[in-house]
């Protein structure tokens, strides 16, 4: 069930009404209801993979309780190891099996040993990378003594499977989300209205920006050899806004839906394309994943307290693992490696935390320097997206070769240029809207709050109209579902 489907448009109001009008009297029953609807939501993709969610839930709930009982470090380590093995084992089998087997076979064949990869076809379950990381964070926090193990299996099951963020995040921490399942929720008008606004803005990002950019990005990436350099540059631009609109749009809808049900999820995006350097970009892009890696990988590895060689090693590890988390393909490793290279000069100059506050915080427009910094950061990020989007390293290389040709300065040549101009106009309007709202949690958060209600409502109606005017008429899943 996709957020941008009629099915979900019926599902969410039904859940909302039942949640607040039928099950509001008992926290336990309300949580149980959320578990049931979350499992129903997930089963609309493939009910068989519910067993994996159940497995992950039972393992980490049980290990959490066992960690609470045992004080001996050896036993606690063994329990933590079991949780890591179970969760990462699931990921290894369902996400990375083909990658390792295929590369092993390729390695053997390069050594002159013939082999074959067998016929086991493993399907990637939707959202597995997200919920395994979420449950892992719980066990690690309990192991570290930063969180008390829960004795409420229903609340824990709801924390693992909570439908708004189950398949593509934000990857929540138990300290934030689980605690909310254990406290009585009350309906809050302002929070619900903010939730609806965020859902609306998320749908605009996905259906107006991302899906329309996708049409041209797909066209360029499908056949880089038949397009000239400037068309390929446009393809990268379109993909940059496709992936941002798609993923941050999903996060907005997830956070908005949660607000309707009385939950606050963590922020996942903070206007990343207005970043002035790569360090700032990574504090603003997929925040729930970057902070996960920071807290559970980078800091345990020694973080920035090591000598120079150790810090460089840690940077590469974190970015390569982050790339590999996205998919079992060398292209994602290359994407992560590129970002590590982009980040390295900042770290060496100890300037990776110089841009912490929002750009042009008290001004309407950026300074010339800020504009150049944002543009150059965007160019670096967009260039790295080529590897993220490409099917293989060869494909990425072919794209870059086509891009870096003399035709980069020629007029772009591709089909449906009139429509592309329209999409570029939409992207430009979107950037202006995001810039205007960059100090807020999301661009629409406080839009028009001083205007009369009818003008504000007309603005919302206009956004609904834009969604109708630019919606794809065929199903368009979110990109991050594949991760």
């Amino acid at each position: 069930m996709l957020f941008n489907s009629i099915e979900f448009a019926l599902f969410l109001p039904a859940v909302f009404l039942a949640y607040w009008f039928v099950f509001q009297n008992s926290l336990k029953v309300q949580n149980l209801f959320l578990v049931a609807v979350s499992y129903f939501f997930y089963s609309r993709w493939d009910w068989r993979f519910l067993s994996l969610i159940l497995f992950s839930t039972l393992v980490d709930y049980g290990i959490g309780l066992a960690l609470a009982r045992h004080r001996r470090p050896a036993i606690r380590k063994a329990l933590m190891g079991a949780s890591l093995a179970a969760n990462l084992g699931l990921l290894g089998i369902f996400k990375y099996y083909h990658f390792f087997v295929d590369n092993f076979v390729a390695l053997l064949s390069s050594l002159g040993i013939s082999s074959h990869s067998g016929s086991l076809q493993v399907i990637l379950p939707v959202g597995i990378s997200f919920y395994t990381f979420q449950t892992l964070s719980y066990t690690i926090d309990v192991y570290r003594g930063r969180l008390r193990a829960t004795r409420d299996p229903v609340a824990f099951a709801a924390f693992v499977a909570f439908f708004p963020q189950l398949v593509a995040g934000p990857i929540e921490r138990a300290s934030n989300l689980l605690a909310q399942f254990q406290a009585l929720r009350t309906f809050d008008y302002s929070r619900a209205v903010a939730g609806l606004r965020q859902i609306l803005w998320g749908l605009v990002k996905k259906m107006v920006i991302a899906d329309n950019c996708a049409y041209f990005a797909n066209q360029m990436f499908a056949q880089p050899s038949v397009h000239n350099g400037s068309a390929l540059a446009l393809g990268v631009l379109f993909f940059s806004f496709q992936i941002y609109g798609d993923f941050s749009g999903y996060s907005d809808i997830a956070i908005g839906c949660s607000r309707l049900l009385g939950f606050d999820l963590m922020k996942n995006f903070a206007y990343p394309y207005f970043s002035r350097d790569i360090g700032e970009f990574w504090r603003r892009w997929h925040i729930s994943l970057s902070t996960w890696f920071r807290d559970y990988l980078y800091i345990p590895l020694g973080g920035s307290r090591l000598n120079l060689a150790g810090r460089i090693r840690n940077i590469f590890i974190i970015f390569l693992v982050s790339g590999f988390w996205h998919g079992a393909n060398w292209t994602f490793l290359a994407w992560g490696g590129l970002h590590a290279l982009f980040f390295l000069p900042l770290m060496l100059a100890e300037r990776n935390r110089q841009h912490v506050r929002v750009v042009a915080e008290h001004r309407r427009l950026p300074s010339g320097t800020e504009a150049v910094q944002m543009l150059s950061t965007f160019v670096l990020v967009a260039f790295a997206w080529i590897f993220f989007r490409a099917q293989s390293l060869g494909h990425a290389w072919a794209y870059i070769q086509g891009l870096c040709s003399r035709s980069l300065l020629a007029m772009p040549e591709f089909a449906h240029r009139e429509r592309a101009l329209g999409v570029l106009a939409l992207v430009a309007a979107f950037v202006v809207a995001e810039w205007a709202g960059r100090r807020e949690e999301f661009a629409l958060a406080r839009w028009g709050e001083r205007l009369p209600r009818w003008i504000r409502w007309a603005g919302y109606a206009f956004l609904v109209f834009l969604i109708g005017m630019f919606a794809n008429t065929e199903e368009s899943p979110f990109i991050y579902f594949q991760f």
Partner: protein, 317 residues
């Protein structure tokens, strides 16, 4: 909660009303590149407006042609007239059998053909028909068939176009649209035909032989069967004709024979691919549309075939 729900209930009808206002404004003033789900082209590509206006006074004729753009670009009334036959062409872009049946139901009483030549192209049996519906909404009349089509598709562009066309007709703005006889190199010829004076439009995309299959939709075969039954009930015979396409285009598809077999089971059928020698460059506009030199070779061959089969009786000379 009460305030939240009452606000939502107030917002919903206001939003619906404003949606219509924005739709009208967008249709009137937004650049075409921004009209993604509103493709309203009265007097647009394919001269359907001129054709349907002429159909109101046409007939009786010897031959009525129905079908896709292959029909209005492939059956020239002037060539038929040279052989002593009258012909009217009711083709439209991407017309599926479902749309053909609607046009027949609307116009056959007026045109009163002795024979219907139903142009069948496999591609039109694979598509959803939205393109043809949008064309009919903008250029045709609005009746119960139109409303059935709108309900059938459940497609947002169809809803938008229908609502926009209601506004255009209500304000009589559509009545003022006059379609040019010649536009973009296409010339409308009385009798529903469109002659292209542009020559070869583009090189064929390279499609590997046998690399594709037609994915047919059963609803189109059902509509074709219903159309033939409808004509039979009127006492009008039907023949199914496939116009020539380039050899490379035809060879790209694996299941052409399946299509030929299925349509041949419904009515007399002829496939002109391979029956006449055509030049891939000179005789075609693109991979599957005939250019005028191609039409001048195809039409006499078709007339010969129809006469030989007894479908047309040569006029006494």
């Amino acid at each position: 909660m009460k305030r939240f729900l009452s606000n939502l209930l107030c917002f919903a009808p206001g939003c619906a009303a404003l949606y219509l206002v924005f739709l009208v404004a967008w249709g009137e003033w937004a650049p075409r590149g921004l009209q993604r789900n509103l493709y309203y082209r009265r007097g647009g590509h394919g001269h359907l407006l001129s054709r349907l206006q002429e159909a109101r006074t046409a007939g009786p004729v010897d031959v009525l042609v129905i079908g896709s753009s292959h029909a209005y670009r492939g059956f020239d009334p002037r060539i038929f007239a040279q052989r002593g036959y009258t012909l009217f062409n009711l083709g439209s872009s991407a017309q599926t059998p479902m749309h053909s049946l609607i046009l027949l139901q609307r116009h056959v009483q007026q045109i009163r053909p002795r024979l219907v030549v139903w142009e069948v192209f496999p591609a039109t049996f694979t598509i959803d028909g939205v393109e043809a519906t949008l064309d009919l909404i903008a250029n045709g009349e609005h009746d119960e068939f139109t409303r059935d089509l709108v309900r059938h598709h459940r497609h947002i562009a169809v809803y938008h176009n229908y609502l926009f066309s209601l506004y255009r007709r209500w304000t009589r703005r559509d009545a003022r649209v006059v379609e040019a006889v010649e536009k973009e190199g296409d010339v409308y010829v009385s009798g529903g035909y469109v002659e292209s004076r542009k020559g070869r439009q583009r090189a064929d995309r390279e499609i590997r032989e046998g690399s594709r299959t037609w994915a047919f939709r059963e609803e189109h075969f059902t509509a074709l069967r219903n159309g033939i039954e409808f004509l039979r009930a009127q006492g009008i015979p039907t023949v199914l004709v496939q116009t020539p396409v380039t050899p490379s285009f035809r060879a790209a598809y694996l299941n052409n024979d399946e299509f030929d077999r299925r349509v041949a089971g419904l009515a007399p059928h002829v496939n002109f691919n391979g029956m006449i020698q055509l030049d891939g460059q000179r005789d075609f506009l693109d991979a599957n549309h005939l250019a005028q030199p191609g039409v001048q070779m195809f039409n006499p061959a078709l007339i010969d075939w129809l006469e030989a089969g007894g479908w047309l009786m040569p006029p006494a000379r």
